[in-house]
Amino acid sequence: MFRPKTRYVALPSPRAGVGEEVDRLTCARCDTALEPARLTAALGVCYRCGYHFRLRAQERIAMLVGPDSFVEEDSEITARDALGFKDSQPYVTRIEQSRAKTGANEAVTWGEARLAGHPLVIVCLDFAFMGGSMGAATGEKITNGIERATAKRLPLLIVSASGGARMQEGMLALMQLAKTAAALGRLAAAGVPYFSLLTDPTMGGVTASFATLADVILAEPGAMIGFAGARVIQQATYETLPEGFQTAEFLWLHGMIDLVVPRPELPAVLRQLLDLYTRSGYHSDFQLEGQARAAATASALRP
């Protein structure tokens, strides 16, 4: 069963000099030592075995949307320690460490951008920030992105990479599942298309809320996607898990996702979807009536 022991979070940043972090670049699957420049050119896909490295949010966004088209929102929103939570370290320390390590204030980045000429809202989770976990600030930013897409009738793309709800925020984190889902309910009622890209890993409360509520669900090859972790399942049930359990390919076979897309093909696939889903479905006035109705619904839903 394919389950590499270690996986590396980030490519050398586009700004970092080639050769930096060279010791980190060993393929987690085939153990090949990789040249950073060549790996970057290959979009973070191992050029020997096809293993997809995890990407930072800004790398992902740069890879998908038009150069300089991305306008980030809410970058100042940061996590708060509402519960006074402390495990082996205080949560406030963990937040500070994550901010220092990633240069981001939260585990999600969102904004408006253009992809193949289509304006859209892109929301991208970042596993490097506390495992992409969803706390209240994370959920707030995701919901702001969904509401922007609803208000401006812009197609929505959410790229997920997350271990699930953030333990350190307790029930405030769990309730973000309901918050993001409710916002997506309004987006759906307004007839605005939503595409979800599941990347390695997408687990727990993120899978059980916004990540799977899309019109089209895409996933990267080999990504681990599920609700309960394999270890938890084995401890609870002593089951022998099937080959490839919870991989993107496994979920595709079970009808849970629409397509497994190798990273280099993503821009073309998204372009095709945006073309199809933003074009009208009728050559008649019915279409205009439908659009007017959808617009009326959307405005009625606005606060």
Binding site: G170, L172, G205, A208, S209, T212
Partner: protein, 271 residues
């Protein structure tokens, strides 16, 4: 340290009460609070999940749709009900019942009592996360009032999968958590023995969650806990449900849906 220790011990006592084997379960409350409960079976897709039960019932002169998580009392019943841990079929049955409640304009009473959704290979293959996510949207948009009452354990997404609504009530000694303390200790401390510390840190008791503004009403239990007197516990729960339902029935559906949306929208907004 001793203060922390005693807090952790006190919180842990609450966790144990919430899981007390003699504690009344959903069917005990249902039979005490409602008349003429008619259990509906099956999700019409794959099977019937006995961890989530439901159907129409009479309550105070009206029909309500009851959806509930049911743990088992005997060994055989626990096995049948999978210890109250639902598979996708349970959540899809709940979805079917919510749709039916909308059709007939029955308010929904959701009774939560689960340590979580079932962590099993089959549940994953059949899309447990997809089923829960779909319910979050369906419950958020259902055009009938919904009241959730946590009876014992409110376990994470498995509880929320039937738990989105207009009011959240908790029995005095129930708990509701993003993860059960054992799972949280295993993840954050990498040591399940730290479950008491995890329980204290998670703020999972009914009074704690009321302080956080997430819970509308804590329903008092008889001294020592609901297991000491099922009748008193059910009477208090019924009184709270009657009061809350009356307050919701006076609200038109569009403002009610807007209020429900705001309820979740406002959780965790940075001050």
């Amino acid at each position: 340290m001793s203060a922390n220790g005693s807090t952790a011990a006190a919180t842990w006592a609450q966790v144990e009460l919430a899981r007390h084997p003699d504690r009344p379960y959903a069917l005990d409350y249902i039979h005490a609070m409602f008349g003429s409960f008619f259990e509906l079976h099956g999700d019409r897709l794959f099977g019937d999940d006995h961890a989530i039960i439901g159907g129409p019932a009479a309550f105070d002169g009206r029909t309500v749709m009851v959806i509930a998580q049911q743990k088992g009392r005997t060994t055989a019943e626990r096995a049948m009900r999978n210890f109250g841990m639902a598979n996708p079929e349970g959540y899809r049955k709940a979805l079917r019942l919510v749709r039916q409640a909308e059709k007939f304009q029955f308010p929904v009473i959701s009774l939560v009592d689960t340590s979580g959704a079932f962590p099993g290979a089959g549940a994953e293959e059949r899309g447990i996360a997809w089923a829960i996510a779909e319910n979050l949207v369906a419950f958020a948009r259902a055009r009938v009032p919904i009241i959730t009452l946590v009876l014992g354990e409110g376990g994470s997404g498995g509880a929320l999968g039937i738990g989105v609504g207009d009011r959240l009530l908790m029995m005095e000694h129930s708990i509701y958590s993003v993860a059960m303390p054992e799972a949280c200790a295993s993840i954050l401390w990498r040591d399940i023995a730290r479950k008491m510390d995890a329980a204290a840190a998670l703020k999972l008791t009914a009074p704690d969650l009321q302080k956080l503004g997430l819970v509308d009403e804590v329903v008092p239990e008889p001294p020592g806990g609901a297991q000491t007197d099922y009748g008193l516990a059910a009477d208090a729960a019924a009184a709270a449900l009657t009061r809350q339902l009356a307050s919701l029935e006076g609200i038109e559906i569009e403002p009610l849906l807007e209020e429900r949306y705001r309820r979740y929208r406002s959780i965790g907004v940075a001050q």
